[in-house]
Symmetry: D2
Subunit: 466 residues, 4 copies
């Protein structure tokens, strides 16, 4: 997963542009925090500063002051099995026949192998294992016979099968693209003469900017000194229909997005709270206290507590300092790692029947440890409620960590899983209720991980087609 | 502030000792995270690994594996105006006539200037600006005419005026010291043949160790292969009396300690929750939602909500990624910094009368910004409740950031402060109620920052004496 | 300038291959020491380790042990105005339709602009400002319709105008290329089942390998498990003729190459010594001692001393520790820098008439300072003799630092230069004598910097053609 | 070994002081290049910047500009078995009753163990394993009852048995000390209002400063705003006698000092040249060419060639890039290492009878390899001449690497060593001739490594005395 951010000053002023890009990706780090970068356009001259690490460690004031220009694209990304090494750190910069181009993308291209082979057969060379090189190579070829960047990008979208959000900077434009299903979010904001594109609108709040709207599925938004224009992957239908047919990833609501963001017009926090309320109806429970699995289960836990009329409380705290470098080579150390990550407030839960609400259950390992700790610290009963249905199908769109995992929900009954994790009761919200909780959302959702309905196809399907 | 940790295996086994020290300081990082170190005793040979940075960045598995030994002292510390530079990173290692000594301390020595001058006049040289060098130089001299380390340390305590917790490792012992008032916490734990000393017992939970007890004020605990023995600064009174006369820092309960810790037999979380309950009685308020100032106000906010019978909710989120390297040179950037640090959940607070509970108010700058953000995002009213009294006196014991600050509570009325921060109402808990909320605590508290009663004296007083 | 090295074990054994590559570029660092790298082929899987800095700082034993494979290309390079940034550090790795390719090159492509534009117009994208990307893009396209790599490289050579040496590694071959004029050196060596390619044969000595021969101008040497085969840019002529028509850069003999190397069958040391002998005939001088400008003037100084029958001595020492990070912002500091770089042996030169022999004079600034130091330290007279003719024309082939410099020899007479540098007499060897001193050399030389005869054309000429 | 440098502006001006210190230690790096530092006194406030690595890597212009002050001491040091770790990097800074003190020293204290124990018994604590801490602790105690620093230092000298040069900076003085035998060199220089102290006067040349004189054995030179004053370890004798009784380390002439330095009024270069001349008389040889073992044998080789009337030539080159990080874990790699370090000029030596002159032979391993390479490259005969006598006794004063080595000259005859290294003949200069070659030197020499006469005593002797 990645956080994308772009900014353009339509009056060609450079004051604060790099800083805006910095604050933008700073606010999007929950989407990925292993590397980050900012590329900036200073009247056609492009500069980039990028590195592995967290945003605040990569940039300092001196660096930002050297990044001068009126348009920038920025990126913050998490780890990836597909795209590795320092070459994969974005934004990607190239020179093509139409000049300098910088690109930030968050993509899973399902036909990447086929596209790469086709391009190689035309003489292209690849210097990394990233989707970016494929997209930019396709675009560069499409641009030869196409009058403008936007139509060349449209051609490129037609060649790519996959899900993506892209922000691209040419020498005079900032362009945003959302895949035909709108599976990845991308939103448009504005502050004075400055337009912004961001994976989530929470970045606009931090920047005191106005959240205009989400891009439509399949939309190419192009911003230059003349303002904003759009082009659509499928222009045979109305915007309304396009939006209604969209299929944003349901896990954005369940887990990925920041609670204060809105995606496709629905508040993330509210949808999670409503999910908790719905859970209380579907899977009520006799308990003395409701707690959230920190931090992702808190909003649903509040809804669940209010739904039941049972007090919400703190019972479990998350150690803020747990990072990626943790030591856990033996089984005992792995258990210690969970103990270091979560602190139990004994006095708050001892002797009580505890209901704990989590956003989802993929493997169940951590949940199992948490239940044991709660019981060791005196909880009389531990009831687990999940604010998403059973994860039965691996996500091939790069979102939750279900790929390549032996998913318990695929082979076990709810009762068997309850037994495995040692809970006194276990309840998953139904997909129907989860969808209802997203009320206000203008479009549908991709819920492949719950129902196996792979809207954008799968890699396997691609292989067969070849 | 610092976090101290010590560990000794009384069977002289070294398996897992460095790892235990690592997990110990890992759990104490809320007390300071700018540098850390572990010193270890391998049958008389001492090694140390220390650096600036956070615990998980300083140590990796390879490093821990090279730290072999059956006894270790470790340290994690925050910034300090008094002790600066890499020389100040602890533990401190020296060689004296009784061999190798390593020491971790968390101290404010009030007569440091006088002690240092006296020692210099005896020919001592100082290589840093740390209290550690003073303590170790005094100890080293006292040890000449004293039969054992413990009595030499007792002599040293009598020369020092100040507050401190100390963990000291000699070639065959691990020794813990708590100052005569017990102002700094220090607790004793055990797991199998391994004894541990820790600033807070939360580290014992993480290590599955048993929390035995807190050290008494003025106690020197000495642990070696024969077990645990104690010596007291004042042995003319009983343990019971000693404990009753103790004066632990009240800010440990208000802000410093981790919620899952117990200090002097009182749960930090519970005392904060009860403070919130008491606040509800002292300063009730008509409101629709109670929120905590994240994260330190959450426990009191829960108590306040329950006390009032008003729903507790989420309204403000803290960005986990805000670190020390943040960019804030202009006024506008400082405001942005607060916006980046806190995200408002609009839908949760819009149109509502919001009560926000914070642990304390020192300068009020951040609180002012938060109130404005809440109102900009639609809060109809914002009522502020503080889980501690007015901070009127600077702490000269190194705890809260009140030293050298123009404290508003010193010169302004509550009404004036309410006006300054833009709240609709403002209520501070009374010192009496705060003390009552710490029920179960076996001792008294130092509350100098609230009442000006400097139990251990002040630097000014010292200067006069000279 | 760069040093190139390649190694292939024809029995597919990997023992010592990375180490051989390491020692190879270690021995070539006089050709460039600002960055270095090794790429290795492990049965089709390519790895690379490269960085800025010196060879011994970039690689350690652990790193070399991770570089496993039976074929490697390596590179060490100096700074460049044309190719900058970390992207320009070689070897360059790409994936093409014929698999992985790694390349080390030392090139100046004169029609680089034109080639890059042509490729862009065909849809290629460029990610750096290096010649490598151009060469690999051309090759990759040429390979589509060409049966083998060698002929695709031949096609590529025909498109490029410029000078170069290239070592290229495919998944089963190691290929070396010398430009049609043979302006850059490249030699072939062998040790057991291992073939090597190296910019200079001095690397073979260090590796106890046999020096087989230099590549012919325009030769493509291809080595795989079946042995060595060759292809030629111009196969209409015999090897003998090809060699005779070659035009290796004369500055290799004057300054660049290591004294113990042989280029095109002539010993560098001997040619320099003979140049000194010839100087003694052309520009004899009354003097008491002959010294070399360390270290590049020493061999010619010995020849000059022997030619004159005057004792050779030490008079000037070079500080080994002067590196690139030196501080020289003011005029005074720049003078200090020269003083720090050279130490005068007062007692050896005081009261004497000193003849100092240097390899060449480009700007004359350092020479001027050296003369002054010698006189300040008591030299009665200072006579300067140069082992190369007047540098009147900038080198556009990337060798000496004459490009963009206001060359004194272009506008001043020898007498005016003598006056400028403060020498008592000044003598340049004639180009004729210099050429004669290279006896044994099988080919001609490019001496464009002395006579303006730009054998491979110039960038200006290219621009006109476009 | 270390290089020491000190500088004081007697008008209290700070312009260029740090830069002077930088250039000073830059010129002294042949005495040690593993760590370096500069401490500076800005009106009583002391700053220090020090690190491991080479001078040019440790300091940059920004760092030097932050080092403001009118007096500085600096240090560059090689590795040491006795003083290890980052704590041992000098200058050492302390605070004592007479304020800040910074010290650079190059010492071997023979009674260090005894002194350290005595100090510990008085209550001192030690934070490193350096001589500096001992010297400063002794000084600090001696200063209590002594009126001035100089006499306290004199007291300290009387307690220490060993050899040393020391530069010490107090808040208003710069003080230099040479041990009672003058075994370590230290010289005084001046430029305008600035006095300098340096291990060797070569630093004064680089700084355009005047070389005033060497310190006398046992002299304490003290420089402040009033100028230069001296105090002597033994003031019962005249300066003349003191100098005549001095015993500077003979290896300074043989190997350590820079050829352009003068120590105790004798040119290093000249004494080496004369040694070569004397060798030609003592051990003449039939040969066609005389070469030096680079770089330390070159001066003697020139003298030898002139003495014999045989041409001096280049035959062996040293690779400038060989550093400390070299890889040599197997025997084969160690041989490669020597090959990489030395390049043979085949054409210069093939078919010839070669005489090679080296400064000394300690183990003989490298010499053996060199002889083999010369023969492999065609040398008909190889005759080895050594510009110092047989090294039969380990140096316990920290100079040559003879300590702990199985010295061949201790047990083997010259003929056996000749056979071991594979030379056709071998000749060592006699100690008598070596001493005569140092003509002009005002004092005697310590030649313990050649004759076992340990003038300053040995550690063993110390142990017995205890």
């Amino acid at each position: 997963m990645s956080g994308l951010f772009g900014v353009i000053n339509t009056k060609n002023e450079s004051e604060g542009v790099a800083q805006t890009a910095y604050y933008g990706i700073f606010s999007l780090q929950h989407r990925g925090q292993e590397s980050a970068g900012i590329a900036i356009n200073n009247s056609g001259t492009f500069m980039v500063h990028k590195n592995s690490g967290m945003v605040a460690d990569i940039f300092d004031e001196v660096t930002l002051n050297t990044l001068k220009g009126s348009c920038a694209v920025a990126h913050t990304r998490g780890g990836s099995d597909r795209e590795t090494g320092t070459d994969a750190i974005q934004p990607t910069l190239i020179k093509s026949r139409v000049g300098n181009i910088a690109m930030s993308s968050d993509s899973v291209i399902l036909n990447d192998h086929e596209l790469r082979e086709n391009l190689k057969n035309l003489g292209a060379i690849f210097q990394s294992n990233t989707d970016s090189e494929i997209i930019l190579s396709l675009f560069s070829r499409n641009r030869i016979a196409t009058d403008d960047c936007e139509h060349a990008l449209l051609e490129t979208m037609k060649e790519i099968r996959g899900v993506y959000a892209i922000i691209l900077m040419t020498e005079n434009k900032l362009i945003g693209i959302r895949d035909p299903w709108g599976m990845r979010p991308l939103s448009l904001g504005k502050k004075g003469d400055t337009y912004m594109l961001s994976s989530e609108n929470c970045a606009f709040d931090a920047l005191d900017a106005e959240y205009i709207r989400d891009l439509e599925p399949g939309e190419i938004v192009s911003i230059d000194k003349n303002g904003v224009t759009s082009l659509y992957y499928d222009d045979s239908v109305s915007s309304e229909e396009r939006i209604r047919n969209g299929k944003v990833c349901i896990f954005e609501y369940v887990y990925v997005a920041r609670p204060d963001s809105f995606i496709d017009c629905t508040s993330i926090y509210d949808s999670r709270y409503r999910t908790g309320m719905a859970l209380a109806k579907e899977h009520p429970c006799e308990c003395d206290i409701v707690i959230g699995a920190p931090d992702s289960g808190n909003a649903a836990a509040l809804g669940f507590a209010d739904g039941l009329g049972v007090p919400y409380g703190s019972g479990l705290l998350k150690n803020r300092y747990v990072g990626r470098t943790f030591i856990k080579s033996t089984q005992e150390q792995r258990e210690l790692a969970v103990k270091l990550k979560f602190a139990v407030l004994k006095t708050a839960i001892a002797g009580k029947r505890v209901a704990i609400v989590d956003d989802s259950l993929v493997r169940g390992t951590t949940t199992k440890h948490i239940i044991r700790f709660l019981k060791e610290n005196g909880a009389k009963e531990v009831h687990v409620r999940l604010a998403s249905p059973e994860v039965k199908y691996p996500c091939c769109y790069g979102v939750n960590a279900s790929k390549g995992v032996d998913l318990p929900a695929r082979t076990k009954t709810v009762e068997e899983i309850r037994d495995m994790i040692g809970a006194d009761s276990l309840g998953y919200i139904s997909l129907e209720s989860l969808r209802e909780s997203l009320k206000g959302i203008h479009c549908g959702c991709c819920s492949a991980c719950f129902d196996g309905n792979y809207i954008a196809g799968t890699e396997e399907a691609e292989s067969k087609t070849e």
